[in-house]
């Protein structure tokens, strides 16, 4: 347990909620998660990045980073990220979840919502700064590798890509492992993959990927 805890960034802890040890961050609650004082539980079953941390993947996160988050949806995960990271850019394409995302941004001073399409980085390159430390990607669309490659331009040379690949978004009929191989092959020329882990325990047919630019 202590070993995995060392992999957690500053600002993320394990605390007991209703008898269970759970990840948590400090900030105002967003989705009705249990709280303990100013700490709020981070539900790994609803958050792929939460799942990656829970599984002890070496995300390289230490706290205070500049983050570009693609696929912020209604802000469940990105609100936790903004709790421990520095400036956090949250990109989401669908208007309806963004309504909830705005509520999550309201009490946070360094979380910046952008209603943009992650497949078209030129629509937000005039806002998002260069040399981000971390690119988190959780988009349910075909061409997940392309999205990561296209958004490489925002990432510092020693930055990290934290990617959750959803097999079913690429091809429902294909075997998830084959889809994962395709996506990893698509990343190859742009990123060096450092670690991959199945997120099955929390998210069916998802692969967690940690990579760094080549």
């Amino acid at each position: 347990m202590t070993e995995t805890d060392a992999s957690l960034p500053d600002g993320v802890e394990r605390r007991e909620f209703d008898g269970d040890e759970r990840l948590c961050t400090r900030g105002s609650p967003v989705y009705g998660e249990p709280t303990d004082g100013e700490w709020r539980a981070w539900d790994a079953g609803r958050s792929k990045l939460g799942g990656m941390l829970e599984l002890g993947m070496d995300t390289g996160l230490s706290g205070g980073e500049t983050v570009l988050y693609l696929g912020a949806a209604n802000g469940t995960t990105v609100s936790h990220v903004a709790d421990f990271a520095g400036p956090t850019y949250a990109v989401e394409f669908s208007p309806r979840p963004v309504r909830d995302l705005l509520d999550a941004c309201e009490p946070r001073s360094s979380l910046f919502p952008l209603l943009k399409d992650a497949r078209r980085p030129e629509t937000y390159a005039h806002v998002v700064e260069a040399d981000c430390d971390v690119l988190v990607q959780d988009v349910a669309t075909r061409g997940q590798a392309d999205v990561a490659v296209e958004n490489r331009r925002f990432l510092a040379d020693d930055g990290r890509l934290l990617l959750a690949v959803k097999a079913r978004s690429e091809d429902v009929a294909a075997a998830p492992d084959a889809v994962f191989d395709d996506v990893l092959a698509g990343l190859k020329s742009t990123y060096e993959v450092l670690e991959t882990r199945s997120l099955d325990r929390f998210h069916e047919d998802h692969l967690g990927v940690v990579a760094t630019p080549r």
Binding site: S94, P95, R99, S109, L114, L115, A125, H126, V128
Partner: protein, 293 residues
């Protein structure tokens, strides 16, 4: 410093590619929404250098203000493309088409007495509208025909409107059903919310209420499909399998309507699952021993 002061400061020479480099009369909020750029840069440092912000904290608070305002405005605008608009548009489209056809009948009946070579229907009206009337009676007929042609064009424009709005208001439902059928289902249910709360079996027979109630009263068999009959997946499937096809289609459309109502994100995998299922159903009809493609 507010973003408004910033607009003045930019004259000093902010990087023209940056969101905070606002031109004449443009607000930083509008720049966030509409601007583009190929490559990012160290915007916080450039903003401080150009005098847009006093320091990094100041920059980020201006950025927060601008992104929140821009995103809120955009969400409000996109959400106004909602289900109510579709409901009215599809009803108006059907009304326009029905009235155009009704009037066209009247026109051809009347026109037949004045122009022996006049055509029938909306097509005939369109052609009559081009003619030069002689005398008061012909004048009335040509005028009426002109209105029919215009009503018909309005119906086409309403359809184009539905086609552009439906994918935003109901991305999943519109992607699987097609924009017009999606709007029709919303109209029959009375709104996206009520559609999302209906069981799939109800969606399957929406628009077949007469047959359904006849069946419930004990006459005839239960309807296999309502308005979803117009979908290629039902109409293009051989009759023996249409029941299965409409059940499968209705099931996915129900899920799509629920995602559209409760979450709003587009999930392409739903379409793929439906495609897969339809392939299986249609393969049954491909004859014995034939390999399903």
């Amino acid at each position: 410093m507010t973003t408004d002061d910033a607009a003045d400061a930019d004259a000093v020479g902010a990087d023209p590619r940056a969101w905070f480099a606002v031109g004449d009369g443009e607000s930083p909020t509008a720049r966030v929404r509409n601007g583009t750029g190929d490559a990012p840069a160290d915007w916080p440092t450039l903003a401080v250098e150009s005098g847009f912000a006093d320091d990094e904290d100041d920059y980020y608070s201006a950025l927060r203000e601008a992104t929140l305002a821009a995103t809120r405005a955009e969400v409000n605008e996109r959400e106004r493309a909602d289900d109510r608009q579709l409901l009215h548009a599809v009803r108006a489209m059907d009304d326009a088409e029905r009235v155009a056809n009704e009037l066209a009948e009247r026109v051809s009946e009347w026109a037949g007495t004045l122009f022996p070579d006049s055509g029938t229907g909306v097509e005939g009206c369109r052609e009559l509208a081009e003619r030069d009337p002689e005398g008061p009676a012909e004048k009335r007929v040509v005028s009426l025909a002109t209105r029919v042609a215009e009503l018909d064009r309005e119906s086409d424009e309403l359809e184009a409107f539905i086609e552009s709005r439906a994918p935003v208001a109901t991305p999943n439902l519109a992607a699987m059903a097609g924009p017009v059928l999606a709007a029709r289902l919303i109209s029959l249910a009375g709104g996206l919310e009520t559609l999302a709360k209906k069981p799939s079996g109800t969606l399957q027979v929406l628009g077949a209420e007469d047959a359904l109630f006849a069946h419930l009263r004990g006459h005839g068999s239960s309807p296999k499909h309502g308005v979803i009959y117009t979908h290629e997946y039902v109409r293009g499937t051989r009759p023996e399998d249409r029941g299965s096809a409409s059940r499968a289609l209705a099931g996915k459309l129900t899920i799509g309507a629920r995602i559209d109502y409760y979450s709003g994100d587009h999930r392409p995998e739903l379409e793929a699952e439906l495609e897969e299922r339809m392939r299986t159903i249609r393969a049954r009809g491909d004859g014995d021993g034939g390999d399903p493609e």
